[in-house]
Point group: C2
């Protein structure tokens, strides 16, 4: 039996026969693969979709089914809730969210077409009730469908883009609407005539000596099958968070957490891409968060590191705050709360009260911090909070309150213990069309990719906002499907 | 004319003739390439060394010619200065220096052979006077040859490895001994019969369809020449700091500084490696520093970020302190000094006094910091410094002094203005033998690499110590040369 490996393309010259022939082959049945398949099939291409797992879903099914949408005056959901949104504000926010190497071409394409993408999602059957659930929350416990899911209202984001909620959550009571979203996508995919092959592990790409991609080798029922994809292969196989060896080589700090969020995100999509010369970028970036609110009152608390210092404005998205927390010197951070705002974070967080006292000095001592360190931080914070400002980190006035009503508590979040859920943001460099670029910056013929196999809209851990990964998966999945279908091979 | 690119190997089938035939071809005439050539030639191989620049040197010639050496009881230089050093302490220090994904195999090989490597360097003619110049300094202004060049005596390094100076500087009066070191290496290289071709830009590797490397295409006097390397090609072409597009894709924060340290470090070595399937690791890591001491008295000062907070023990290596400074929120950090310790950093730093006052409160106000923020930091520091301890960051007692003697000053270091010299640490994943690994973890036949084209001993910005890059270049350059020479192709 031949020795196949995702990192080595099988060469065309060694292919004796084709077991399956199709126009487009899609690898991975998460949101990106589903949307890529749909667009390709509806463009008239025959499509075979291979999924290593037993059914559809991927990491998308583990999500809340929240998609970051807006612009163009506002989606019907935003408008129904009384919000106006502009394409330029959406563009500016996404550029800030993308960090120091935001992809202006992708952000532009997305911002200009976000409203149309909303209509497309609705046309697929994704239900939106159109009601807004205000407040700082992770996913709605209700079936409301618009939430605030990023750092829009927080400094520095609010200085460059008018803030507005953009988290469009599928109508579903409670957490976990991503599964319902994938069920709906699956129905559409099957109706569109896509040939779905689950429990089918793709082993490697098939490429000629110039790395033009012609198909793939897949193992189905224990047998290697040769698949010809006349127009192209689309990699939608997720990121690499479950491949802990790759994590060690690219983002080793993440090994301190045992809570990767992934399905079959084993890096195979990225490795198949690099096997034919694709470029990888920002492999060190990741989403990493403990959902420390609700209760929302805790946002009025302050986070400090082991040195007793604050490190960020606490009113940003939890993923921004905790990404910064994860990078602090030492392994622990503490959320300081007085009696007026105290509440317990969700049990899932594994965040316990590490110290309590009638004065902050007692808390400081119980935490073993240098005398005067924590108390100085609280004193400075309280002094300015009383005047409605935060000169250090620019937390907004509505979240500022002196922490003066004892007893006082420090809630501990520790890397290696608390629920630092994480997934990777680095991956293949692609065009907005989904074409995969080689290291010269040229598209690799016959190869497309979308979702977390690529480095997409979200690519900077400190900017990540909820729903931007699914926005990227669904929208750029569609672009990749349409591009592949129209390719003249 | 054929269209060559470093990221695409020229395929064997398209090679019509060979212009040059050799056993081993080395790309790059810095320290790594020189040492690789020497070992290969002395092992009996014919060697051609290609250098894109007009002469030998590379980034190595821009350095101080400082090599990190020790272990085995101590080098003669260490012993002459009264220091004992153990192989295990050297091993432990280098493992900490390598950060969360330190390469234990390389560190073990280096620690066990560092003493022998010292003897080898001496045998090449590198002069060491054998005198120790104590203190916190960057390079000696004198011709002394042993200095402290890392964070050995600072927390947390001193908790796991007995500290000792290991910076072996070539005997040379003043800064810049790297040029002399390269002149000596060049003499040895020419004596060994290596065929040196300067002003010769390697365009791409030549490989067969399985990516076994057989040679390279080089442009000499405007003409493309086909070079057969029967035993192997050794990539010693430096890192990618001068390729600002690659920097943007892998370490975008560095674009805030216009002070890359590099010669022809354009990433071409790394790209030639990946063109035949090599793996790259830790591409986001870098050395980045402003040499803020001397004057040594400033080490008794404290660094604060724009929030007025300390962020590290200031008694570590300047490259560790400033790497952390570069990552702080905002673009500026301030070094706080009282009248007793004040001195001006070297002019090269571009670090000016941003504020001064008779009280720290005046300094705080002049810097526009929140009232009470900077003063709280100084108060807490002073309170503990008076007792000889630093509970926040564990600065050693000898550098602790309350900053109480006015007038007081804040010296500003700003990204985008100050001299944040930097170079890249990520690169090809290699074995201690110099063999380049593909993404499966298998050696690529016929391909070797050393120096900053690889991810070597130094691979973590917060651990970097001076002399570890040249240690890596010279020692693992030798390993690569010996490995290539003995390969049976």
């Amino acid at each position: 039996m031949a020795d196949y490996h995702v990192s080595k393309p099988h060469r065309m010259a060694r292919v004796g026969h084709w077991d399956i022939e199709t126009d487009v082959a899609v690898i991975g049945f998460g949101a990106a693969g589903a949307c890529a398949s749909l667009e390709a099939a509806r463009s008239g291409a025959s499509v075979v979709l291979f999924e290593a797992g037993a059914g559809s879903g991927g990491a998308s099914a583990l999500s809340g089914g929240e998609i970051y949408l807006g612009g163009g005056g506002g989606t019907p959901v935003q408008k129904a809730a009384g919000f106006e949104d502009s394409t330029e504000d959406l563009y500016q926010y996404l550029m800030m969210m993308g960090g120091p190497d935001a992809d202006a071409a992708k952000v532009r394409r997305y911002a200009d077409n976000s409203l149309a993408h909303y209509e497309w999602l609705v046309a697929q059957g994704i239900p939106y009730k159109g009601t807004y659930l205000p407040g700082k929350l992770v996913e709605p416990e209700t079936d409301d469908t618009l939430i605030l899911c990023g750092s829009e209202y927080a400094w520095p984001f609010n200085t460059r883009a008018k803030p507005v909620p953009r988290g469009h959550v599928i109508q579903f009571k409670g957490w976990g609407g991503g599964r319902l979203m994938m069920d709906i996508f699956e129905q559409r995919v099957r109706e569109a005539g896509v040939d779905v092959r689950c429990s089918s592990r793709v082993l490697c790409l098939i490429a000629d000596d110039d790395n033009t991609v012609h198909g793939l080798v897949v193992r189905i029922d224990g047998v290697e099958r040769f698949v010809r994809a006349r127009k192209g292969v689309i990699l939608c196989a997720g990121g690499f968070v479950m491949n802990r060896d790759m994590v060690r080589r690219h983002a080793p700090l993440l090994l301190r957490s045992e809570d990767p969020i992934g399905a079959t995100d084993d890096g195979s999509g990225i490795l198949m891409g690099t096997s034919v010369g694709a470029d990888t970028i920002h492999m060190d970036e990741y989403f990493c968060s403990v959902p420390w609110y609700p209760p929302e009152s805790l946002v009025k608390g302050i986070f400090v590191n082991e040195q007793g210092q604050r490190f960020i404005n606490e009113d940003g998205y939890h993923g921004r705050v905790m990404n910064m927390a994860f990078r602090q010197p030492g392994s622990k951070v503490y959320l300081l709360a007085d009696n007026a705002i105290f509440g317990r974070p969700m049990e899932i967080c594994r965040a316990d009260v590490a110290a309590a006292g009638d004065t902050w000095a007692e808390v400081e001592q119980e935490l073993g911090m240098g005398a005067g360190s924590l108390t100085a931080t609280v004193d400075v914070y309280n002094r300015h909070a009383a005047e409605g400002c935060d000169p250090l980190f620019h937390k907004e006035a509505e979240w500022l309150k002196p922490l003066t009503e004892g007893p006082f508590a420090a809630i501990e979040f520790r890397a290696g213990y608390s629920f630092y859920a994480h997934f990777t943001l680095g991956g293949l460099n692609t065009l907005p069309s989904g074409e995969v670029l080689d290291r010269i910056g040229q598209p690799i013929a016959g190869l497309y990719a979308a979702g977390r196999t690529t480095c997409g809209l979200p690519r900077w851990g400190l900017g990540y906002s909820s729903g931007t990964s699914l926005a990227d998966c669904t929208f750029f999945g569609r672009q990749a499907g349409a591009s592949a279908a129209k390719r003249q091979a």
